[in-house]
Symmetry: C2
Subunit: 185 residues, 2 copies
Amino acid sequence: MNQRVIVPLPKAFRLLNHGPTVLVSSAHAGRRNVMAAAWSMPLDFDPPKVAVVIDKSTLTRELVEASGEFVLSVPSRQQAALTLAVGTQSGREIDKFSIVGAGGTAASLVGAPLIDGCLAWLECRVIAEPHIQQNYDLFLAEVVAAWADPAVFSNGRWHFPDEQRRSIHYQAGGSFFATGDTFEV
Amino acid sequence: MNQRVIVPLPKAFRLLNHGPTVLVSSAHAGRRNVMAAAWSMPLDFDPPKVAVVIDKSTLTRELVEASGEFVLSVPSRQQAALTLAVGTQSGREIDKFSIVGAGGTAASLVGAPLIDGCLAWLECRVIAEPHIQQNYDLFLAEVVAAWADPAVFSNGRWHFPDEQRRSIHYQAGGSFFATGDTFEV
């Protein structure tokens, strides 16, 4: 696993503020899974909360509902093919940890693992809202711990060092955008 | 206003799929406003739905709750300073349409205006979910019409022609990322 330092919770929203594609990992009763999600966003600053869409058909949904926990990992451009693969195959058919290359690293407060090689990680506990989970596949969660690779995120800011270690934004059909230039106004 | 063509509703989610900062415009009973939002995302494909966070303190919140409608406009890098300005000033104190340069263009199905010069526009009707509106400042809405500048989005895909006509992703303190390179895996 790459280097990892803790991110203070009031700054954790900045890990998702720019809308990157994420990996959602989950675990329950000896089963585990990882999928990609294009639809996630911060929901509050402090305590930090997030929102993420998790389809009813997925194994991730089953594990998240059973455990009440998940991890969001922010993959890099180097991991784009892996992200697409875990986003298009089902954990009911294969062990998708064979795609991400390892079982991941243990999280500090939740059972789901941190995906190795990613840029940042948010450990999340579901805030039970059964009506919106059922009707919109929408999960709200509190971020209970957050981590980042200090080569790409420190002092509350992303600073991508090269073209490959950047977050990615899914478009469609295997096409992504890399996060581009930083600019100030 | 720049050129504008309709986007088929089953492709409307792609206008937000990559997590751009948006402008939220609203109107009710002769009052109107526009604010920036970093926290929005698609929620469903067809009919398309979106989720957006709108703080209780804002005039936008009052107008969206009263009218049940809003428009999400996707600003370009050229509009980053304007986006920051409408995101940091209150419509209770100034007419923020003086910042965006004009009153906007009439939408087709909702009362809120499309913001001129943006890259794409989503006309939205709120799906009433008072509990999550009150508890999380979270609004769900159905996209009832969508539009894009064909110079940047056509056939369901973004294709940014130059550095200025790109969507933007807010980080913090006046710092943004531009949407970067497209790549395929």
